[in-house]
């Protein structure tokens, strides 16, 4: 493998990391509040707003049922309006974020629904406002689950980021298609696949480690 190809691989890996990191951060920024709202806005819940809950739920489901590759193409005009171009890593972040947001929202919603209803009752009995309950109780108690959910989201985004390579994004997917497939360089293809596998393994391990660190439910994490 030439030095040129190796530098291409390094560059593509960094581009993938950039796209995944940016879309994870943006997706969490939008997905976390959305997930919290979905988990707390059914009838009779903390932020009871059944109609808004239904509408948002429908939108989230719709966004999640569009295959990612279709989503990328379908929102090209939107992407272009937002970043000025539909090609490159910055442009790829738009569809990646749009795919990540509802996904993260559902994962957050599930984690928060797992929190014992007794804790909400106890906090209400203390005189907590709904916002205090969400901030001090629900998110904190759901944190280990949210961390595992985010891990899952990052792994999915690594896969999606390879797909945007097919439509003019950059990164490892793009490299694999242009060099490994179109120029028939099997060693590049193999290297791309190997790097992706290592990335996913690393993300999974780190995610699980963080989730275990923040989880105080099991005494095994403690020194006693």
């Amino acid at each position: 493998m030439s030095a040129n190809v190796i530098s291409l691989l390094i560059e593509a890996t960094l581009q993938t990391c950039y796209m995944v990191a940016a879309s994870t951060i943006l997706g969490t920024l939008f997905g976390l509040p959305l997930g919290v709202f979905l988990a707390t806005s059914q009838r009779g819940e903390l932020l009871s707003a059944p109609l808004v809950n239904k509408v948002l739920g429908l939108i989230v489901n719709a966004a999640r049922s569009v295959p990612f590759i279709i989503l990328v193409v379908a929102i090209i005009p939107f992407t272009r309006a937002l970043v000025g171009t539909s090609i490159g890593t910055n442009a790829a972040i738009v569809p990646l974020t749009i795919a990540a947001t509802p996904f993260i929202a559902r994962l957050v919603e599930n984690s928060i629904r797992e929190v014992d209803a007794g804790l909400i009752e106890a906090s209400r009995a203390m005189g907590a406002t709904p916002f205090q309950i969400i901030r001090k109780v629900l998110i904190r108690e759901a944190l280990p689950g949210i961390m595992l959910g985010l891990t899952l989201a990052v792994v999915s985004l690594i896969g999606y980021s390879a797909m945007v390579g097919a439509v003019g994004g950059e990164g490892l997917g793009d490299l694999g298609i242009r060099y490994g497939y179109q120029r028939f360089m099997p060693d590049v293809m193999l290297a791309v696949v190997a790097i992706l596998i290592v990335m996913v393994q690393l993300v999974q391990s780190v995610g699980e480690w963080i989730a275990a660190r923040v989880d105080k439910r099991a005494a095994r994490n403690r020194g006693h």
Binding site: L119, R124, G127, K136, E141, R217, A219, R222
Partner: protein, 353 residues
Amino acid sequence: MTRTEPTGASIIFENVGKSFSGADGTGVTALKDVSLTVDAGAICGIIGRSGAGKSTLLRMVNGLERPTNGTVLVDGRDVGRARGAELRAIRRDVGMIFQHFNLMAQRSVFDNIALPLEIAGIAPARIEPRVNELIERVGLTTHRDRFPAELSGGQKQRVGIARALATKPKVLLSDEATSALDPETTQTVLTLLRDISRDLGLTIVLITHEMAVVRDIASQMAVIDGGHIVESGPTYDVFIQSAHPTTRSFLSGVTGVTLPAFLSGRLSKQRNAGDQQEVLRVTFAGPHATDPMLARLSTDLNVSVNILAGAIEEIGPHPFGNLLISLDADRGAEARAYLERHGLLTEVLGYVR
């Protein structure tokens, strides 16, 4: 603790009713026309079977449930009509502990107890000494930085109690707080509650299905059945004078004084012709509880008395005895009159041959 004067608040339920509308449009009435006054500084035990409405009643004191009709007054404030900030202010004056503790699993003992203070917007510098004081009060100094998963049930409930006391409430609500604990731990938790009531003077309302809990710490009590209060008053009075079958069945649970099965199966309410034995419940109360009344009865009236079951125990400082006896039915009225004349309470349970 910093307070020495009694700081409890009175709680008044006035003709309180509560109905829930079911999903299919049918309504369920949980409480009907409940009136009850809990004196400031009292420990009031509310006992009832599951589904009797006691939990609903308790949760009206801090507005977790709102009455459909009637009024709930805590320290003169109308909880049922309070909203928003006003309701949250009342809730800070009413601490609550739970059967399943409801501690935050991701917060340490210290942080759990600090939570209500954080919620009240107290400055962190003032939270720390207060929490340390509470941890010491409930005897968990060495567990300050532990997490709930590392504590026993009794320790968790003590964290729950410390948490409930953090904002210096005037009322403490206990929702079956000892039901998930073993008998020994139950005793330590009850002792802690009694000490707190004595030291802080706060009003405690506890709901339970265990008569022993009421007997051990409640100064007043109410028995609830099917959404009604069937009996209420000072605990001792209810124990010795209870007439309602629900109260009776709870009492027999705690005293263990029930008819042996071979007798209860044959017991008839009506007196039949022929040689019959009258089965009586005799309740010894107050100064007569320790008198050898049955021995005197046989001597003075010359009737032979059969003891079927019995026990003597204490409610607070007062001894209290409960005996089941049988004697010749022809002499029943005479014997009952004799016992009543000597300050004992009698009740005819039935007749056997």
